[in-house]
């Protein structure tokens, strides 16, 4: 029981994970958050896709800036 509650507390929702994915684009996450995010991404395809979308946005902005 206790471990289940603990697991729930540690587990990120996609909403929380997405905030961390964005934050991670701007600076390194503190250790605990980084671990929880990595665990979340291991089983969550949705946030894995969002992570890739954020990376794509960053790349797109650089390409947009330097085109021509």
């Amino acid at each position: 029981m206790r471990s289940l509650a603990r697991q729930k507390m540690l587990r990120l929702s996609c909403q929380q994970a997405s905030r961390l994915l964005s934050q991670q684009q701007d600076e390194p996450l503190p250790f605990g958050k980084r671990v929880r995010l990595r665990l979340h991404l291991m089983y969550c395809d949705a946030c894995t896709n969002v992570s890739r979308q954020f990376d794509t946005l960053r790349l797109a902005m650089l390409k947009w800036r330097d085109r021509d």
């Binding site: 684009q25 701007d26 896709n49 890739r52 794509t56 797109a60 902005m61 947009w64 085109r67 021509d68």
Partner: protein, 197 residues
């Protein structure tokens, strides 16, 4: 008389011409950042003038374009600081409840976000880059401005806080909103993957 003057003049002209070659590039960024054609023109004129006046400081260990971009960045920050001081931002809530409608009651995505097969390839496509630009132009003004400062002008969060008087959590919320709004906007065309096949 004329010959002694002309020995100095050509150099100066070449230098200004060299700077001015980057005008279109600078204008594109300034337009996206300031969202006002006249303000962008004034800003870029200032940047070129400043660059010309300080041309001795350009050491050539970065490209001319990189150097001009850093001058543009500082100029934009000055302008925005003034603008934002006159119209202070309303106290932004933590953003905890942002985008609630994208998530189900357990906090998971209600709809599967699109998988981007090949980001590098996608970002080569003119059509995708134009779609990104359109989505950025549709962002709420200040959110778009912070995002462009961050991603196009390479301003880090520390600079955003220090130079624009924003708090760290405020910067994170603004950038999070920008990214989530942009991904939602780009989902409308399946993030460039809408075509079957």
């Amino acid at each position: 008389m004329a010959s002694s003057a002309s020995s100095a003049t050509p150099n100066i002209e070449i230098e200004f011409a060299l700077l001015a070659e980057h005008r279109i590039y600078l204008m594109r960024i300034a337009r996206m950042e300031l969202r006002d054609e006249h303000a962008a023109e004034d800003c870029v004129s200032d940047v070129l003038t400043q660059a010309y006046e300080r041309r001795a400081a350009f050491r050539g260990d970065s490209s001319l374009r990189t150097w001009l971009t850093s001058i543009l960045k500082n100029r934009v920050i000055d302008l925005l600081r003034k603008q934002w001081r006159e119209q202070p931002i309303e106290e932004t809530p933590s953003g905890e409840q942002d985008f609630d409608d994208l998530f189900d009651e357990t906090g998971h995505y209600a709809q599967m976000p699109s998988h981007v097969r090949d980001p590098a390839e996608l970002c080569q496509e003119e059509g995708f880059l134009s779609a990104v630009q359109r989505c950025i132009d549709r962002l709420p003004k200040r959110i778009g401005q912070v995002f462009v400062l961050r991603e196009v002008l390479g301003t880090d969060t520390r600079e955003l806080c220090k130079d624009l008087g924003l708090t760290t959590s405020n910067v994170w919320v603004q950038l999070y909103r920008a990214r989530m709004m942009l991904r939602t906007c780009l989902e409308k065309t399946g993030f460039g993957n809408a075509q079957p096949g």
